[in-house]
Every structure is written in structure tokens, then in C-alpha cells.
């Protein structure tokens, strides 16, 4: 099978935490260069999907295809080296270590010698980090910490970036900035899979939306193909307004 660079192909995935199953036979294909926003009500399995891809959830069945190999059962270190990075929800830095030390830690899984050039690349993406490089990460503002974490993820030049709820707890201006950086990263050729509670914002930036409900993708398409009200309807009922009802009425 040829290595399809930057393509993620998830088939019939079942995953969760221990005995608790959250993802129930999910299929999702993401092409190189796409910016996909995962949407859906709480508990739909968005965050769990990201964790499953990154080897941090219990995967019981299915396939996580990435550039021709199956990532199922792999550890985060291997997945990082395979070109996928993950920015989880909540703080993911080392508050009492300097920005520089944080970036050192981010290259932990990388082969020896990765560093200088990549660090300049991250500092060019987020110039504020260059200014604060000696400061403990805990002293940075919420938005700066979010950028540090994205910078840490970008340090290994991933071809796929998984981001979970980057806007939580940030001011509107900072959210604007974080989303602008995501678009830049995406335009530089990195595929993005985003989970975002702020649906309106996510629909603005994403090239495609995928709606999850009860652990399955129930609708996917460009954000322009669906209205906000329709999206709400899907969240609530699990189907598009006007679409034939699949659960009832079968003769």
C-alpha cells in the first residue's frame, strides 16, 4: 500500500476507557491538508476520538489508518514520531519550567538532533514565546500558555495536528489570535482535526465539519452546506431536518 502522506482513515473504530465504550463503530476519513472540525453534544465522543488516535484511550476494535500504517495499539511516543501531534484540553505544560525547558521536553520523543531549526520555526509562528523563553510557563497568560502548547506540538513538524478545545478560558481577542494561528498552520500544509465547543467559531475556520453523536459520525460536509439551526437539530435528534426517519416507520 503506498504511503498516502497526511491521510487519516478511521474504520469501524470502537474505543473508550476501560470497560466504558464511548466510540461505537466510527468511520472518518481525513485527506491531507484538510481542516476538520468535530462537533456534537457533550459525551458524543469528540475528545475520546482524538485520544484514541493518539494512543491514549482503550481501542477495542477497528482500524486507525495513518499514511498506510495502522496506529491501533501504538504508544504516544511512536505516534508523535509518525507525524501526529496532540494538544489536549486543559493545561498541558510544565508550569515551573521555563518556556525553553518546556520546548526541550516537547522533543523528548524525537530523534537526537531535532531542535534548533524547529525551535526557530516555532518562535516564528509564535514570536511572543521567543520574548518569554526564560520565563516559567506558569507565569504566562492563558493565551500565551495555549500558544506555548501549540508550539510544543508543532516542534516536531507534525503532518496532522489534533487540538481539543483551544478556546476554553480565553478572552475573545485571544481566541481570535489562536484561531488565526491555526489557519496559518493549516495553510502551511498541516492537517488539523479540531474539537471546539464554540461551534460558530469552528464553522468559520474549518474546511469541513463532522458531527458526532453517541460515538458515531452522523453527518459530514463543508460548513457552508449546513445552517446553524440544522446543526442544532442534528445535535438534538441525531438526524438532519427533512431527512427520512431511519429509526421509525420501517414497514
Amino acid at each position: 500500500m503506498p504511503a498516502e502522506s497526511g491521510t487519516l482513515d478511521i474504520q469501524a473504530l470502537r474505543a473508550g476507557y476501560g470497560p466504558l465504550e464511548i466510540i461505537r463503530s466510527l468511520d472518518l476519513k481525513v485527506e491531507a491538508g484538510e481542516f476538520v472540525a468535530l462537533m456534537g453534544p457533550n459525551g458524543a465522543g469528540k475528545s475520546t476520538l482524538l485520544k484514541s488516535i493518539f494512543g491514549m484511550a482503550t481501542v477495542t476494535d477497528g482500524r486507525i489508518g495513518w499514511e498506510g500504517q495502522d496506529l491501533r495499539g501504538r504508544k504516544p511516543g511512536h505516534i508523535l514520531r509518525a507525524g501526529i501531534a496532540y494538544v489536549p484540553q486543559g493545561r498541558c505544560n510544565f508550569p515551573q519550567m521555563s518556556v525553553d525547558e518546556n520546548l526541550d521536553m516537547a522533543t523528548y520523543a524525537a530523534p537526537k538532533g531535532v531542535g534548533k531549526a524547529e525551535r526557530d520555526y516555532v518562535f516564528d509562528l509564535f514570536p511572543i514565546l521567543r520574548e518569554r523563553r526564560r520565563m516559567p510557563a506558569g507565569y504566562l497568560s492563558g493565551g500565551e500558555q495555549q500558544m506555548l502548547e501549540m508550539g510544543m506540538a508543532m516542534l516536531l513538524r507534525p503532518r496532522l495536528l489534533l487540538i481539543d478545545e483551544p478556546s476554553v478560558g480565553l478572552s475573545p481577542q485571544t481566541i481570535q489570535k489562536v484561531f488565526a494561528e491555526m489557519i496559518r498552520i493549516n495553510q502551511a500544509g498541516c492537517t488539523i482535526l479540531l474539537v471546539e465547543q464554540n461551534t460558530r467559531k469552528a464553522m468559520e475556520v474549518a474546511s469541513r465539519a463532522a458531527v458526532l453523536r453517541l460515538g458515531q459520525v452522523i453527518w459530514t460536509g463543508p460548513p457552508s452546506a449546513i445552517s446553524f439551526a440544522e446543526l442544532g437539530e442534528i445535535f438534538m435528534t441525531g438526524r438532519l431536518p427533512g431527512a427520512p426517519d431511519e429509526t421509525r416507520g420501517q414497514p
Partner: protein
């Protein structure tokens, strides 16, 4: 008298410090209280004693021998027990390490017998310091503590392993995402901490002169008081708190009576925590 009190206090404090710093780094990465920590100190003493008595090694060689023996034991316990404590609720750690403590203590008693043994080794020639005769061994202990604390501080700040240790202590979830092999770091830190306790045991044996299987418990309990007073996870604070405790104990033993010595740690601990709930040195950066 005053000089004696000071010398005894600093020596005892240095011994405590070497044991306590191991406990504090283990607590840092694992958030678990190690109730078996004093047993590694005991095993260090027994290791050196066994190397001298049975293998007939000179004392100087028996010290690294003891550290290596304890390192191997600690590695096994690290893999079998301590790794499982990652992300476990903290009571689990208490019970599991209590279990380890019982096993280690009683295996030693089973193998070597429960009686006191005499430790024959070390350099106990007195050297004159400010008019007091101080044995060379005590000077060695103090120097060893200073060198090791300096080395640890450097390791934690500069080396890859040291930085990883701090990273695990600060945010274990983030470490997993960076691809850090957390169980390996935990095992490594645990072995390092236990080896320091063993070194302390092997260095102290000539001064205390005797050893027995149950000698670790008292050390474990005092170590708790030290790491809480020093601010948990604070390497420098641990040394200062250990010296302070050594000096206080030595003064109480000298002026009030030996029988009150073992309670000093906790009277001090409760007094300190009443006034400063975070410990004496909590304002400084943790770990």
C-alpha cells in the same frame, strides 16, 4: 557540650537528609508516600555488613556493593509495585508500601535473624575540630551529603533525566503526551532515591555501630517529618530541614534525655505546620 551537640546534630541531620531527599523525589514523581523508605536505609546497612562479614570486602568497597544490591532490589520493587501506583489513589500507595515494608523487614529478619549485629568497619579515628574530637566517619558523612545534594541539584536542573523527573512531577498527563515513558522515569527515580537511602545506611553504620531488621521504621517516620517541614519536593529545603531536626534532636537528647529524642521530629512538625501550613521553605520553587 555545645560543640558535641552541634557535631552530632549535623551528622545525624546529614544522614536524615540523604534518606529524605530520596523520599522527596519519589513523592514528586509518584505523589505517593513511601512507607518502606527506611527499609532501603536498613538494607544498605545490612548490605555493607554482609559484604564485610561474609564476602570479607573492605569497608570502602562494601559501600558501593551495598548501593548496588539495594539498587537491584529497588528495581524489582519499582517494576512490580511502584509503577502500579502511577495515577492510583493515594491510599493505595500507603497500603502497598506498608506491605513492601513488612516484607523487606521480615525477610531480613528471616535470613539474618532478629538480633542486633555489630558493624565492624569505617574510620572512627577522632580528628580535633574546635576542641572536640570528631570521628573521620562523621566528617565523611557531612561531606558526602553536601556533594550529593550539589550533584542532585545539578542533575535536576541540567540533565535530560533530571528535567524529565521535574516534568513528571509537574504534569504527568503532559508527559504522556510528549511521549515520555512515565513508568521508566518512575522506576528510575525510585531506584535513585532508594540508592541514596542505602548509601546513607552504609555510611552511618560505623557511627551507630549496630544494626537490626527493624531499624528502618524510625527513619521512615522521621523522614516524613523532614520532607513535610522542608516543603514536599523541595531538594534544598530537605537538607535544611534535616539539619534543623538533627540539631534539635541532638540538643534534646543532650539536655533533656535520650528518651525524648524520637518525639522531637513530630513536636516540631506539628508546631511548624500550625504556623506555616506549607512547610518552612514552601515559597521556593517546588522541585
Amino acid at each position: 557540650m555545645l560543640t558535641d551537640v552541634a557535631v552530632n546534630g549535623i551528622t545525624a541531620g546529614s544522614v536524615y537528609a540523604l534518606v529524605a531527599v530520596g523520599m522527596t523525589i519519589i513523592f514528586g514523581v509518584l505523589r505517593a508516600i513511601n512507607f518502606a523508605h527506611g527499609e532501603y536505609y536498613m538494607l544498605g546497612t545490612f548490605g555493607a555488613w554482609w559484604a564485610i562479614e561474609t564476602v570479607e570486602l573492605p569497608y570502602l568497597v562494601s559501600i558501593p556493593a551495598a548501593v548496588v544490591i539495594v539498587g537491584v532490589i529497588a528495581f524489582a520493587i519499582g517494576v512490580l509495585v511502584m509503577r502500579r501506583l502511577i495515577d492510583a489513589p493515594f491510599q493505595i500507595g500507603v497500603v502497598a508500601t506498608l506491605g513492601v515494608s513488612l516484607v523487606l523487614q521480615n525477610v531480613v529478619i528471616l535470613v539474618f535473624g532478629g538480633s542486633y549485629k555489630m558493624f565492624d568497619g569505617g574510620w572512627i579515628e577522632p580528628v580535633d575540630i574546635f576542641g572536640a574530637g570528631v570521628s573521620q566517619q562523621r566528617i565523611i558523612i557531612v561531606i558526602a551529603a553536601l556533594v550529593i545534594f550539589g550533584g542532585l541539584e545539578l542533575m535536576v536542573r541540567r540533565t535530560r533525566f533530571g528535567k524529565t523527573m521535574r516534568a513528571v512531577a509537574q504534569n504527568i498527563e503532559a508527559c504522556k503526551i510528549m511521549g515520555v515513558d512515565v513508568p521508566r522515569v518512575v522506576t528510575g527515580t525510585f531506584v535513585l532515591g532508594c540508592c541514596l537511602a542505602a548509601l546513607s545506611g552504609a555510611l552511618t553504620a560505623p557511627v551507630t555501630g549496630s544494626l537490626y531488621g527493624g531499624m528502618g521504621t524510625a527513619i521512615t517516620v522521621k523522614t516524613f517529618a523532614i520532607i513535610v517541614m522542608g516543603g514536599v519536593g523541595n531538594v534544598g529545603g530537605t537538607l535544611l530541614a534535616a539539619w534543623l531536626l538533627g540539631l534539635m534532636e541532638s540538643a534534646v537528647a543532650g539536655y533533656l534525655g535520650l528518651q525524648f529524642r524520637d518525639a522531637v521530629a513530630f513536636v516540631a512538625l506539628i508546631a511548624v505546620l500550625t504556623v506555616m501550613p506549607g512547610g518552612l521553605f514552601s515559597r521556593r520553587e517546588r522541585f
